[in-house]
């Protein structure tokens, strides 16, 4: 089976993950005058990671707005603009900086619809470049998605391919709820097929990237790419791994995971965020509480980020998050009954 979603197979054109996001932004802004992009240096500079590029020249400084370094104010401005009829897309330069904006995201954006009795919608999107692997150390490398997945009212997604990066952005902009998109910095330059038209990848649906029989590997963001590579090596070892790319962690697609577990009887969960109290704990608990639990032939294993801040030194940095070798080793232990 292809490691790309079937809907992408028809298109031969390849874009990078960053280009795919830019194309999605461009198409959304062309289609709907309510959509605008704002964030630190997203305009003239083109975004710290070059994602917005030349959009300011296409749409002008009124719709691609450079902001001061003012995360809490900007997050609140996104909330206020959304409830006044616009469709703001806010870029937080590094996802770590969202910590400065927690109040508006958690207390306001997430709760307004509920607090006001379902009479309001908050159609805002926050784009968050995250993840380790760039030597950016402890305050520019985190994977904080689990924090937000803990908050009812938010949606949290982590596209891993250029195809999903564009399709999930467009779905997020359509969505009447606040959606946080965690983009992995190491993925920006990765290439893949991306259809030219404006298409949507539904939020809340995982993708089975590879079918397998012996072990299920559920992974998110860049870990889905690593898990797919690990599955190739596992095949050479005679282990057939099914790889599920989570794509969305709130809402989470438990059914796709449970169906796979009922088939393979073994579950490995891989994510870059800190392992303790993370996404893997939730998935493991959901499986334990479901009928899929009866199908398990081995303990559920988790590979996640170390219980330490992200270190600067590249060797330490690699050691702090799961690598392809770790995934292969853990899957082999599970498949061979050594876990």
């Amino acid at each position: 089976m292809s490691t790309q979603p079937p809907e992408a197979a028809a298109s031969a054109r390849e874009l990078t993950y960053a280009e795919a996001i830019r194309e999605g932004l461009e198409q959304a802004m062309e289609a709907d005058s309510r959509v605008f992009l704002f964030g630190e240096d997203v305009g003239v500079y083109g975004g710290a990671f070059g994602v917005s590029g030349d959009l300011v020249h296409r749409f002008g400084a009124e719709r691609v707005i450079d902001t001061p370094i003012s995360e809490l104010g900007m997050a609140g401005a996104a909330v206020g603009a959304a409830i006044t009829g616009m469709r703001p897309v806010l870029e937080i330069q590094f996802s770590d900086f969202i910590t400065l904006a927690m109040e508006q995201i958690v207390n306001q954006a997430a709760k307004i619809r509920f607090m006001f009795g379902g009479k309001a919608t908050v159609p805002m999107v926050v784009r968050l470049p995250g993840g380790s692997g760039t030597g950016a150390a402890a305050q520019h490398s985190q994977s904080l998605e689990a924090w937000f997945a803990h908050v009812p009212g938010l949606k949290v997604v982590q596209p891993s391919t250029p195809h999903d990066a564009k399709g999930m952005l467009l779905a997020a902009i359509d969505d009447p709820n606040p959606v946080l998109i965690f983009e992995h910095k190491l993925l920006y330059k990765t290439k893949g097929p991306v259809p030219e038209e404006a298409y949507r990848v539904p939020i809340g649906k995982a993708a089975v990237r590879r079918a397998g029989e012996d072990v299920t590997i559920v992974a998110s963001s860049i870990m889905a790419i690593k898990a797919a590579a690990a599955a190739e090596r596992l095949a050479a070892e005679g282990v057939s791994a099914e790889v599920i790319d989570l794509r969305s962690i709130r809402p989470i697609d438990l059914e796709t995971i449970a169906a796979s577990v009922r088939k393979t009887h073994r579950l490995l969960i891989v994510y870059e965020g800190v392992k303790t109290m993370g996404v893997g704990a939730e998935i493991a608990a959901m499986i334990a509480e479901s009928d899929a639990f009866d199908y398990l032939d081995a303990p559920i294993l988790r590979l996640g980020g170390a219980d330490a801040p992200l270190p600067y030194n590249p060797v330490l940095e690699k050691a702090a998050v799961p690598q392809e070798d770790d995934i292969v080793a853990a899957a082999l232990r599970l498949a061979r009954g050594e876990a």
């Binding site: 104010g73 401005a77 909330v79 409830i83 109040e103 508006q104």
Partner: protein, 320 residues
């Protein structure tokens, strides 16, 4: 015309006062399931400002937001029903006193987090400017919010982007249970000056003064979008919340409050203008009936249904 406006503002203030007093009693009787912060003594700010606004203008408020809500034209019965936690409430009983809202009237919500209405209003003003219809956004906050970093972020953003937002500070001298003088090293006037934002200070208990100044500011903002700061000196007659022992207040401060009562000050002005005592008696009777009826209806309204708990968390794809 002037007399008609004064009458309309007086009625609006009295409607807020009577509603707050009704809530005070409901709270004392144990009929309110949460806590409430009353705006008695501050009615002139909400009414003076709202008298210059239209439905499409947005307002955002704070924990002491009942007056701001009613002044924006929100109806009494769903207002009381909300604070009583009923299904017929403004927010179907999910929000309560600190989250009363009515988007159909441009009332974007009271708020439980001190200062949190400022960035929401800044964003609302950004949207209104982009929409280009001359509508403006107003945020009410207290002097206790001035130490919050987002106040500074939002004044800066609004000034940088020339947003049509009016920052209305209700300066009652109290930051919850402490005098603001012990919490803030500078003043709003100096902050306005630092950011180059137009600033006006008024006696926030004289509704005619609040309205006249707000009118000038709002007219300017509709023509050419730009932020403005209106600081209103006012009085918090009740405690920070109902049930507050207030043993931190001095007798002399409390004794000074009646002379500053916004209703008495307005009535004195209006009597000089020739409004007869009968008119005040009549309007007091009308509003008492209006408030009593609304409270009575709200008290008989059904509570929300437990099974609906999660229903309002997310909007479906068809919404808006």
């Amino acid at each position: 015309m002037t007399a008609e406006r004064a009458k309309s503002r007086y009625s609006a203030m009295l409607r807020i006062r009577a509603s707050e007093e009704a809530l005070q009693k409901l709270f004392a009787d144990g009929r309110i399931p949460g806590f409430v912060h009353l705006s008695i003594g501050q009615e002139a700010v909400a009414v003076g400002v709202s008298s210059c606004l239209r439905d499409a203008d947005t307002v955002s408020s704070n924990h002491r937001g009942h007056g701001h809500t009613l002044a924006k034209g929100v109806e009494l019965e769903p207002f009381f029903a909300e604070i009583l936690g009923r299904e017929t409430g403004l927010c179907r009983g999910r929000g309560g006193s600190m989250h009363v809202a009515d988007f159909s009237k441009g009332m974007l919500g009271a708020n439980g987090i001190v200062g949190a209405g400022l960035p929401i209003t800044t964003g609302s003003a950004l949207a209104l400017k982009l929409l280009g219809k001359g509508d403006i956004a107003v945020v009410y906050f207290g002097d206790g919010a001035l130490a919050q970093g987002l106040v500074h972020e939002c004044i800066n953003l609004s000034a940088l982007w020339s947003l049509p937002v009016m920052f209305v500070c209700e300066n009652n001298g109290w930051s919850e249970f402490s005098p603001t003088s012990r919490q803030m090293a500078t003043s709003l006037r100096k902050l306005a000056d630092a950011f180059g934002v137009e600033y006006r200070a008024v006696d926030g208990n004289r509704v005619s003064e609040v309205a006249a100044t707000a009118e000038t500011l709002v007219a300017g903002m509709r023509k050419a979008p730009a932020p403005a700061i209106l600081e209103c000196a006012t009085t918090r007659v009740r405690g920070h919340f109902e049930g507050d022992r207030q043993d931190y207040r001095t007798a002399s401060e409390i004794q000074s409050l009646p002379a500053r009562d916004p209703l008495s000050l307005a009535r004195a002005e209006m009597q000089v203008e020739g409004v007869p005592p009968d008119w005040f008696d009549e309007v007091a009777k009308q509003i008492a009936v209006e408030v009593n009826n609304a409270v009575a209806k709200a008290l008989t309204a059904p509570p929300p249904i437990d099974a609906d708990l999660a229903a309002g968390v997310y909007a479906g794809m068809g919404s808006k």
